[in-house]
Subunit: 111 residues, 2 copies
């Protein structure tokens, strides 16, 4: 397992400029990975769908985002909103707020 027992802050070390979405691995354990993802107006590439082998539980903590599922489902996420995305479920980030950081905390785990 790759981790530290030091205290760190989820909202620290966010670059002012974010040409690309930024993913940081916070904890890496057997069958479990916790990541911080920072978006700033980013969206998934056109026609790109995430389809992951792992389950994902994700919470948006700042900003705002629009998620879309291949099923046609679409949801706007505000700070504090969380959702479980089962492995294999096709989804994409349709967009995130253009004028502030959207900070996500994502827990990926074995299906």
């Amino acid at each position: 397992m790759n981790h530290s027992t030091d205290i760190a802050n989820l909202f620290a070390d966010i670059p002012a400029q974010l040409p690309q979405e930024l993913s940081t691995r916070l904890l890496d354990a057997k069958n479990l990975r916790i990541e911080r993802i920072v978006s700033y107006g980013h969206a998934s590439e056109p026609d790109f769908w995430y389809q992951q082998e792992e389950h994902e539980w994700v919470i948006l903590l700042t900003g705002g985002a629009l998620l879309r599922w291949a099923s046609g489902r679409e949801e706007a996420l505000a700070p504090g909103d969380y959702v479980f995305i089962p492995a294999g479920e096709k989804h994409r980030v349709e967009g995130t707020l253009a004028d502030e950081h959207s900070v996500w905390l994502a827990v990926f785990f074995a299906a």
Copy 2:
């Protein structure tokens, strides 16, 4: 696995009165449990130490708290601060802010 794919908000449904600390299970999977814990001036009982069979990764999202380890380590946590507590490591909540809700998000997983 016990979960929903609906969207919910971590900061919703927090009772104004909290005679006891409130734990809510948000996701319950094999070897993994995600909980919301809401404190309001609560602390661990005197001389009580948590000593868990599972690893715990926990982040404080609102409020403030003081954690103490049996090793003598003590840390103040502000919003956004997170820490990994390995299974078996004796620790306790020395206190939480008396005048606002401290909302924690805890990920427990098999050691």
